[in-house]
């Protein structure tokens, strides 16, 4: 037997011309995922990418795996069907802020609650790109767009907060152009059995350019991002001099500086991925008052939906044994006419 040939990024690239705008964050995400694929222990033929509608949802066409570009908002429901039909498949859902949280919000809620074993990557660019720039459910208040020329007035949704509220057992956040951060996060998401929700901050250079600069630019990144690691203190800032301390009186975090006002490392909250309340607090942090958390916010392994479904089927079959369909039709009250 020949050892299976090691696949490379090229094996996961299709011959289709990628049609995102120049400079779109999606390119970087695509490259990172194509590069990641050979490192995962999944046969290529078992990999399926399912998407809805929007710029990000073109993604499956560029992956040399099985793929299904579906309809607006419905990717989680379609992916649930794929997984139910064959639990062996490794199913990824690619969606955006409009697709996954506006028109498809209900499906997102339920796929997370059910804990279907999928990797759900939500590309959040806080705008509708494909329909030419209307504000989205994650746009900041005051976003000027063709449909909100005087600025949007409604409160944006925070994807990770939504996911945790829906009962997601794996919630993470990462950044489009940062392969070094994204790759291990996606590996974790892939390894997690159940619905893994990953929000990816993604730049739209045409309709919402630069909205994540505060967390990406070298100058401001250190102060605006909190890189999470399980069991490690919540430190950030240049040389990790700042940290988050829990204030029991206000039930909130406060930013403190090590060595100032008697603050020591002991005062800093330690990250625990399995703590739901902590995850919710981390998901809610936002600049400028706080750094924004990236990495795995929450991870709790629980039985996935499709495995429970198939477990039930197994139990029923064990109980009923081999059943002849004709026999079942003849069960109950029957009578013979001669």
């Amino acid at each position: 037997m020949n050892a299976p040939q090691k696949l490379t990024l090229k094996d996961f690239s299709t011959d289709q011309e990628v049609r995102w705008c120049p400079g779109c964050g999606d390119y970087a995400i695509l490259k990172t995922i194509q590069k990641l694929m050979p490192e995962l222990d999944t046969p290529k033929e078992n990999t399926v990418f399912v998407s809805g509608i929007g710029c990000s949802s073109r993604f499956p066409y560029y992956m040399e795996t099985y793929g299904f570009h579906t309809i607006h908002g419905r990717a989680p429901a379609i992916a649930t069907g794929v997984k139910l039909s064959n639990p062996e498949l490794d199913v990824w859902v690619i969606t955006g802020d409009g697709d996954g949280l506006s028109i498809g919000g209900n499906h997102m809620l339920h796929v997370l609650r059910r804990n279907v074993d999928l990797q759900i990557l939500l590309f959040n660019n806080e705008i509708y790109g494909l329909t030419k720039g209307q504000y989205s459910p994650t746009s900041q208040v005051g976003t000027r767009s063709p449909s909100t020329p005087d600025g949007s007035v409604d409160l944006p949704l925070r994807p990770c907060t939504f996911a945790l509220g829906a009962g997601a057992r794996f919630v993470a956040r990462t950044i489009d152009t940062e392969a070094k951060h994204m790759t291990p996060v996606l590996k974790r998401a892939h390894a997690h059995k159940g619905a893994s929700f990953v929000e990816i901050y993604q730049n739209c250079p045409v309709y919402n350019d630069g909205i994540f600069d505060y967390i990406k630019d070298k100058k401001s990144a250190a102060d605006s991002r909190l890189v999470l690691a399980h069991g490690e203190p919540l430190l950030f800032g240049v040389d990790n001099q700042k940290g988050l301390r829990f204030n029991a009186a206000s039930l909130q975090f406060e930013v403190v500086t090590l060595g100032e006002a008697g603050v020591t490392l002991e005062d800093i909250m330690v990250h625990d991925e399995t703590n739901l309340v902590l995850a919710q607090m981390l998901a809610a942090l936002s600049t400028p008052d706080f750094p924004e958390a990236v990495g795995v916010l929450y991870c709790k392994q629980e039985v996935s939906y499709e495995s429970s479904v198939y477990e039930q089927i197994k139990t029923v079959r064990a109980k009923k044994g081999v059943v002849d369909f004709n026999e079942v039709l003849r069960q109950g009250h029957t009578w013979t006419v001669s």
């Binding site: 579906t70 429901a77 649930t80 069907g81 794929v82 089927i313 009250h333 029957t334 009578w335 006419v337």
Partner: protein
Amino acid sequence: MSVVEKTSEVVAADLAVSAVVVRFAGDSGDGMQLTGSNFTEATALHGNDLATFPDFPAEIRAPAGATFGVSAFQIYFGSEEVSTAGDDLDVLVVMNPAALITNLKDLLPGGLIIADSDAFTDKNLARAGYKANPLEDGSLDGYRVIIIEITKRVIAAVEPYGLSHKFAVRCKNMWTLGLVMWLFDRDRSITVGNLEKKFASKPEIAQANIAALNSGHSYAETAELPSGVEVYQIPRAQVKPGLYRNATGSDALAYGLIAGGRLANIPITFASYPITPASSLLHTLAQHKEFDVVTFQAEDEIAAVCAAIGASFGGTLGVTSSSGPGISLKGEAISLASATELPLVIVNTQRGGPSTGLPTKTEQSDLNQALFGRHADTILPVIASSTPSDCFDVAIEAVRLATQFSTPVLLLSDGYLANASEPWLVPDLTQFEAFPVQFETDPEGFSPANRNPETLSRVWAKPGTPGLEHRIGGIEKDYDTGDISYDADNHQKMTNVRKAKIDGIAKFIPAQTVSQGPTSGQLAIVGWGSTYGPIHQAVKRLRAVGVDVSHIHIRYLMPFPENLGELLSGYERILVPEMNTGQLVEVLRSKFLIDAKRLNKVSGQPFKIREIVDAIESLLGESS
């Protein structure tokens, strides 16, 4: 001509001798459906042919005594072939004044009323709208009436079992059933068994109900009933030999889907969202995990159809089910299945509409939706079941068309078929021709756009197959490669091939037959769906007195059988009875340029045989 007088006599005589229509009516909490289903089982075992019509309100527990809360169960049984639940009632059992006032209009003159006088209290009479007690004021003099203090007798009969007053009174449906079983000489042992099973964990309730059943029976045996009330002897029906069971359309449809999956050699993924009257399909399939069926209750109608589509992509057959409003919600996704040419079965158990309409009543007003109710040129096969047992065969056919032609298929049933039951000659699956699905496995020359040259079906390559990795989606695809294409000529070509594939199904379905009467002549009654029973009986009765009329019942509504146009052109006149405002008739008129006439009813109730007889007579009267 004198058709009218002649046939009326025949109709009346025909009903009186060999068949009986009984309706049980009471509060929705009175257990009338349970009473009816037990009586049905006993009747089937007695050897009569039968059809039933459960008719219940949308309210689960309406206020006691309210007219809108009346729940009824009708059964038509006899020694002749029975194919409808019957027109007028011979026997009406009423558990309260509301049941009497809402059902009396359907009772034949001289018909039998059985009434619980204990329930005719001032309060209940007022609630039903009676100014005086009809059991006492002589207003029922045109009928035979058995007035019994049923509630008092039930309480006495179950007294040894120590039930509370509330539970004791609940046994009165079984007491009444016992009495009616005496009247028709039915065997009570099946019901006794059912009660023991139903209340296995509460033996005192089971025993109390059995005592009530027996008490009602012995009351009838020993009491002095009014003259003319005696045991009806109804001979066994002459039906096709074989093994029978009772089945509702919903049961038969569920079994048909399982059978279809087995014939296609493919697992079924059934995804649905609860909606009246379609939910029972999900319930039945959920009980059969021993077969290759996975059921999924989705978060909404859209998720249900989408999960089914995902399942079909994954390599099982996705099936979804709903009623009209839910099918509307699924529309966009059905078009995705059409564009991507994935197999999918969509079952519509139609109900009265529009909107919430009459959720528990029947109608066949979603034909236009089935044929035309989606965006763009989304064309798909539409088939309809005509009787409860036909649901089995039609479900198999839906699976065959979906898997052989890589297309969504719409199967139309309705609330009447779903809930009505009839004796079902139990099919033998080994006698059906299998149509195993051929998944693509060969990477050589593979493209997701490959087609079967004969059926035009798109290749089905399921994830998990090495070397066949490919992408599909709702954007238009290149005819040859399956890649995204916005090319103008290609879109024309793809639209054409999708249409040609569905139109071409006409070559792979049976030719349209004539179910009764000659293949050409004076008049054809053309129906589809659950109007089969009343049309069949009406045509049978008229043909018996020499009227030249045929019955054609269409199962394949898209595409039509190839010979349908020619067949219809052989009749001088066409009449299309439908439980809508005229949907098939418009299609027939526009497609075949024929002057088809319409007969329409949208009352939430099935056609009566007489209504169709009358329409035929008046149409023929015009022409003479």
